[in-house]
């Protein structure tokens, strides 16, 4: 039984690797980090596969790991950056301004709050149901709905301003 679950998980990973990479990339914004995220997520998943409740949960369970790994990497980067050179910090406002003005919805999504961006990505890029997203994010369904709605509103506004 457990062995079967393991095999199923492996198949799931192999078959959906491109999708996983795209999600990771949407957070990381570059190839190296995206590949790192995917690799870390696979390691974690295979090490902890016994925690999957049942076969049907594989999909949401793996997304959860992937999103968490993506967040982790982003946080690490933020940390590294804030410990880095002061000069770099001075440049930030200019950089961000230009970035925001140019960005389309794809870039704007990454400016949203972390859980909001995950909800939008899973909903519109991966086309998951709200119920699945609630499971992945460990939130209740109504919270997901509220956050999604709020996120979309902000997004629409910002894209309009940018245009």
């Amino acid at each position: 039984m457990k062995q079967e679950l393991y095999e199923k998980l492996v198949t799931h990973i192999v078959e959906n690797q491109n999708q996983f990479y795209r999600i990771a990339f949407s957070y990381a914004g570059n190839k190296e980090d995206a590949l790192d995220i995917v690799q870390n997520a696979i390691c974690k998943a295979l090490e902890n596969y016994e925690m999957i409740r049942n076969e049907k949960a594989i999909r949401t369970w793996f997304y959860r790991i992937l999103v968490n790994e993506s967040m982790l990497l982003l946080k690490q980067h933020k940390k590294e950056m804030s410990c880095g050179e002061q000069e770099w910090l001075l440049e930030v406002p200019y950089f961000e301004k230009a970035y925001e003005a140019e960005g389309d919805a794809f870039d704007q999504i990454n400016q949203l709050e972390e859980d909001v961006q995950s909800i939008i990505k899973l909903r519109f890029f991966e086309e998951l149901s709200l119920k699945e997203i609630a499971e992945i994010m460990d939130l209740n369904l109504n919270t997901v709905k509220a956050k999604l709605y709020r996120g979309l509103k902000t997004l629409k506004q910002r894209v309009k301003e940018g245009a």
């Binding site: 192999v14 078959e15 295979l46 090490e47 990505k121 979309l152 997004l155």
Partner: protein
Amino acid sequence: MKILKEAKKRYDEIAIPEELSQIVESTIRRQEEKQEVYQSNAVNAESEKDTVNEAGKENRINETEKGKVIHMKRQGRVLKRTLAAAAGIFAVFTLGLNVNTAFAKTMYEIPIIGTLAQVLTIYSYEDETEDLKISVEIPSIETISGEVGDMDAVNKEIYEYCEQYAEEAVERAKEYREAFLATGGTEEEWEKHNIQIRVWYEIKSQTENYLSFIVQGRENWNSAGNSTRYYNIDIKTGGQITLEELLGENYVQIANESILHQIEERKENGEVFWTPEEGGFAGISEQTQFYINEMGNPVIVFDKYEIAPGADGQIEFEIKA
């Protein structure tokens, strides 16, 4: 929401790096090895403990049962690992067609071929204006490693061909629109035309020695604007493979005889071909277009109208060597 549609499009166009499938595969393999080491250590530790304790039968049965379970587990993986190991050797080569296909599927269904190069989309775009829809997918030959020819020239040629086709097709659509409106058509009527332009490619076959694929351009309003190019690339040289290389010195005779024979057969089945006097098949030449099929045989292709009425579309003849 339109902005999300655009964002999703950008998301879907995130290019998948070549290394991904290798990284995924090797991560899984490493993890499996780690677990097996862990499991066999656990078994060893337990059996040692058993001996020390002078364990009774019950314990022994337990142990052998555990051993069995793990053994079975192993068997399950042996096959996989053999495949994985084989894949390891060829990992650099077997990125497969277009990489997108799930690694597992390509792995287990297609025999492993030491491909040194592959055809990938390097550039694609879609655009929709009031007047037309255009979708372009430009392929490029990416060499993976080893002794392969220089693909720059052919890649450049493909790229230019695609871009030029797209550009000219847009031009033709514009002319069509002007002509339509100038001859009394209204804007509303024009809108119903639903003009579409598409450039894409299709891989016919690939082995360690060659890549055979076609690149096509289509306009949905004008079949005269259709265009197809055949690429049979010798991986070792980067040059085009000729019919002579495939069929030998007497390739003209071999191909002609085979085609005439096949025409006769098809006529018996009720297909119509023009006679040579009507401008039908009059023998192949150096310019004759062909691709190489999965069997490694050249397939000669005649355009619509070339040797038979247009209703038959393109006509293909496989020449069995």
